[in-house]
């Protein structure tokens, strides 16, 4: 009891070790990039138009999976969003293989540019890539989409420039840089308008960040919402419940 009220060497050592351990744990979690389940390129993709029962306009939006899949997953994303990259690398490949390629889910990629100045231009690049490849080689879009997330750098958004996206487009097999540039020049305003429509719908859900997901059963009209890059089990659970609804 002699140590009561005094700063002992043992407590000082404990506090020092605890502080160092706390700092070390934070640094470890910050620098850990997480496990990658590999890049996902869906077995089938298709363009579509019209508006779904949930109010999502499909024209010009990249769609993975079969047209008659019973459940839609609307995926709002931003190419500058690191949390979306986590979903792309850790969860999307498993969701894709187990639900999209299995014919249960149709994944619709929607834009919600919120992170940085180049978020909207990056979304325009994506839409234009889809527009130029959707009819003949839709898989090329998903390769481009994966490469765009791969290009994210550790900190900040300085990496996101026209030059970076030009380079990604040039390097992606099956995508013509000239055709994409032509789309950006001649159809840029219309594409930006469609991106605004997506963003407004995201805000009305409401989502306050990216990624955001709505899982929607087209037959029963049942819907569920997932916010952020949650673990695969949460997605599987939510999709199963909406499938059965």
């Amino acid at each position: 009891m002699g140590s009561k009220g005094k700063i002992t060497r043992r407590r000082a050592l404990l506090a020092g070790t605890g502080t160092l351990g706390f700092g070390g744990a934070v640094a470890y979690l910050a620098s850990r990039s997480g496990s990658s389940a590999g890049e996902y390129v869906p077995e089938t993709s298709h363009p579509s138009d019209g508006t779904t029962g949930f109010g999502v306009e499909l024209a010009g939006r990249p769609i993975a999976g079969q047209a008659d899949a019973p459940v839609d997953v609307y995926y709002w994303t931003d190419y500058l969003c690191p949390f979306c990259k986590r979903f792309e690398t850790e969860t999307l490949p498993k969701v894709g293989r187990n639900y999209v390629d299995a014919g249960d889910v149709r994944l619709v990629a929607l834009a919600f540019p919120v992170i940085g100045e180049y978020s909207t231009p990056a979304a325009v690049w994506g839409r234009c890539v889809w527009e130029t490849v959707a009819a003949d080689e839709p898989a090329a879009f998903w390769r481009w989409h994966g490469a765009a997330f791969d290009a994210q750098e550790r900190n900040g958004n300085d990496w996101a420039t026209a030059e970076t996206f030009r380079g990604i487009t040039e390097r992606t097999a099956g995508v013509s840089l000239d055709a994409v540039e032509e789309c950006r020049q001649s159809r840029g305003d219309a594409v930006r308008e469609s991106i605004t429509v997506d963003a407004e719908l995201a805000r009305s859900v409401p989502f306050r960040g990216t990624p955001g997901f709505v899982i929607y059963n087209r037959e029963s009209d049942a819907a569920g919402k997932i916010t952020g890059a949650q673990p695969y089990e949460n997605f599987a659970d939510a999709i199963d419940r909406v499938l059965d609804a």
């Binding site: 919120v114 960040g209 952020g228």
Partner: protein
Amino acid sequence: MTDTRHRGWLRDLRDGLAYPLTSNRRLLLAGVATAVTYAVLVLSSFPQFAVQTLTRDPAQLAYAVSALTREVYLGTGWLGIALVAAYALLTGVAVTNAVAVARRARRGGASTLAGVLPGLLAAGCASCGAGVLGTLGFLGAMAALPFEGNLLRIGGILLLAYFVGRTGDPRTCSIDPTR
């Protein structure tokens, strides 16, 4: 005169920071308060995600904290994440000291409100700071703030440090030598 006052404040800050080392229970309280504050600060950087993940399965707390630690780092860099950790540590100390001040006040040891106020303000500042950072901190919004919100974090840390220094060692009543 000002120099003396600064030296006095620095001495009080040192005493205040060292106070949790004066008993095992205080050290434990500071550690728990630090861990809880860190979790709250990091989780409040994307409240929608945190609430949905934790209400579905509270066991996913570790996943949520780890995922959002990475996001805070990617959004604000090493400085940003270091400031969040420092804020949590300082809050741990401030809460421990505030508990001591509040106990002393309850026992009637503090005769004036001024004696208790700094400790309470320190605790209030800690919880308010977490709330402010959280409200402003959802993904994307921090980018709009100066230096990705780091200025706000530095402000919170300085405010906490001021109040911890103002209270000093909660067991003693300091006399301002300038008066």
